[in-house]
């Protein structure tokens, strides 16, 4: 352990209480009863929302396109089961605000009948561009929670001629074990997905990185990768946030991704194991991304388990299945406890980003009793981005946002490590999230102010032009009148 702290390749981080044993030993439950209704938001990814292509009352099959992607960075949405579309309207989004989002509501018919699709015999005969197209059409996004459209990432990797594909099996968030179970049970499919992605990016080597607290997953992946010498499987130290792409790239390759550029610019691209599995399903079986494995865990869950559910399943259905006790649930979190979002209620759907749903009891939460900062600088030593959380928070508290930006606010990844170690219970990440939003709002306000000025100038120019035209018309009218009178007078004289 000592040389771990001395390692130049890991910056900051904590070893948080894992709580993974609640679910890591049980197989993925596949007996989840098909919900009567599925609520499918048209935006489950980074980028532009998808545009619905179906009508209310239409009969759809599982895997059928419901909304197609818009623009360069976007992803389509497919029917997670067969049934009838009963509504396309605004429903609460799985977001801390639970504000409405455009959602397609599907009433399932219980048949769960897949749409027929033409399969490719050998995906390695497809061109890399074709692989990207198929991955994009299957609606695959980063399954680790970032939800960046995978096809765009494959294209970026190909354009930048990357040399290494990193597969992220770190799963460093406490409680979550969905990637762990996926690697244990479906290692061969994941490795197949990795091979297809390598082909799609025209890259040579792949490295699967797994934290050393998942020995079974490591063994399974190692066995599955044996026939392929270009795929290596490596164990990495268990240290949150090891799964942060930049941290993982630095640890595995020793390369630092410069601020403001993407990892593919230094020749590395990183994908989650769940994404590799989804790519396998899309290319080998022609199946769109319509379900995902969700960890349901926490102290208030009687039957904590990993369960494969169709996208659009309400969290309330999931909680019924796992017997969650509402009386002792103090907080519901989507994602992991470090970076996840707290949800206000459970009538919200599972989306592509939902790696876990946690129902935590009061004893599992950190005290909200905020005390003054004692400048112990623990937050500084654990910050994986090398920032000064205490000074940033202090500036933000005094509304000195520019000073916070100068200290690197934009490089904060909201990993929550600083809040976790703070002995004064200061909600540091909350300050940074607030400040980031505020900085963005101010930029927008400034942009609007510039636009307003432009609109004003245009309007003034138009008003001047109209006034000038009116003057000219008036002058022309007077001249014409004078001409008429002169002619009249001439005629009168002639007569």
């Amino acid at each position: 352990m000592l040389n771990l702290f001395g390692s130049k390749r890991i910056r900051g981080g904590v070893h948080a209480e894992e709580h993974k044993s609640l679910t890591s030993a049980q197989a993925i439950a596949t007996d989840f009863p098909l919900p009567k209704r599925l609520y499918i938001p048209v935006q489950q990814h980074v980028g532009k929302p998808a545009e619905p292509v179906i009508k209310v009352g239409e009969q759809v099959l599982k895997g059928q396109l419901l909304a197609h992607s818009q623009g360069m960075v976007s992803a389509p949405v497919h029917a997670p089961s067969s049934g009838i579309i009963i509504d396309v309207n605004e429903y609460p989004a799985p977001h801390p605000s639970a504000l409405p989002i455009r959602t397609i509501v599907l009433e399932t018919d219980g048949n769960d009948k897949w749409l027929e699709s033409i399969l490719v015999a050998d995906p390695f005969t497809l061109s890399p561009e074709d692989i990207s197209l198929r991955v994009g059409a299957a609606g695959i996004v980063g399954m680790g929670g970032a939800t960046f459209p995978t096809a765009v990432k494959l294209n970026m990797g190909r354009e930048n001629k990357i040399h290494t594909l990193l597969i992220n099996g770190a799963e460093c968030e406490p409680y979550l074990t969905c990637d762990d179970r996926l690697m244990q049970e479906r290692a061969e499919q994941i490795i197949d997905g990795v091979r297809i992605m390598l082909h799609g990016m025209e890259a040579g080597d792949a490295i699967v990185a797994i934290e050393d607290n998942k020995p079974e997953a490591f063994a399974a992946m190692l066995t599955a990768a044996l026939p392929y010498p270009f795929i290596s499987v490596r164990q990495i130290p268990t240290r949150y946030p090891m799964g942060w792409d930049r941290q993982l790239i630095r640890y595995i390759t020793g390369l630092e991704v410069p601020v403001g550029s993407s990892s593919s610019e230094i020749g590395v691209t990183i994908h989650n194991v769940g994404t590799a599995y989804a790519v396998h399903n899309a290319i080998r079986h022609g199946q769109a991304l319509v379900s995902r494995i969700v960890t349901v865990s926490g102290g208030a869950v009687i039957k904590p388990v990993n369960v494969e559910v169709p996208l659009g399943t309400l969290i309330s259905d999931l909680f019924n299945f796992c017997h969650v006790r509402p009386d002792i649930t103090a907080r519901i979190i989507m994602g992991g406890p470090m970076m996840g979002d707290s949800l206000p209620h459970i009538n919200l759907p599972v989306v592509k980003a939902t790696s876990g749903i946690l129902a935590l009891t009061q004893s599992e939460l950190k005290s909200a009793d905020e005390q003054p900062c004692i400048r112990c600088a623990r937050c500084v030593s654990v910050c994986p981005a090398g920032l000064l959380p205490l000074d940033m928070a202090n500036n933000i508290r005094n509304n000195q946002l520019d000073a916070a930006v100068d200290l690197g606010l934009k490089d904060c990844i909201s990993c929550g490590t600083c809040s976790y170690v703070c002995p004064s219970n200061i909600p540091l990440v909350h300050y940074f999230k607030y400040a980031s939003g505020e900085v963005m709002a101010r930029q927008q306000a400034q942009h609007k102010s510039e636009q307003t000025k432009r609109l004003m100038d245009d309007r003034n120019a138009r008003m001047e032009r109209i006034a000038r035209q009116q003057q000219e018309e008036e002058a022309a009218r007077l001249a014409a009148k004078a001409e008429r009178e002169r002619k009249k007078a001439e005629q009168g004289e002639a007569a």
């Binding site: 504000l99 905020e370 005094n398 939003g437 505020e438 101010r442 306000a445 307003t452 004003m456």
Partner: protein
Amino acid sequence: MYVLYAIISLTLLGLFLGLLLGIAGKYLKVESSAIVDELEALMPGSQCGQCGFPGCRPAAEALAAGQAPATLCPPGGSALAEQIAALLGIDLDLNDVKEPEALVARVSEATCTGCTRCFKVCPTDAIVGAPKQIHAVVADACIACEKCVAVCPTECLQMHPVEVTLRNWRWPKPTLDIPARTPGIRSNALC
């Protein structure tokens, strides 16, 4: 003799430098209102009058004279206030500034008669319409100057708070429960 040389050379030097200063003073004269121009350039320029001054130029003049606070411009918000404070080199305390509620004008379609009065006064062309057609407000261009509200004969134009959506939702500022440290009280308590 040397004394005379010294007197003459110093006199000539004085006259020459004085002349230079005189010329420089005439040709390199700095307009005292340069700061006003800079301030005016920062402001939205819509002459909406929400600050209480007749337009952006008078407001900039008042700012330069120190007769108005940096936070005077509601459409500019705190972003503009920070720019003004930076330009004038004054300290800005946004702690006590209540961010005004964002408003946007909206046409009630039931009562709009299509009189076109509102879009004639709109400084940013944010209202679209034609005679005897129901008008509509382009929310992104509306600066909440309320000029249209004043001229609408049927009161169909009203200001509404900007709707919070997933696109503009922001994390609220954490509320701090620690009592503020008042020096007097603190020293009493400790001593």
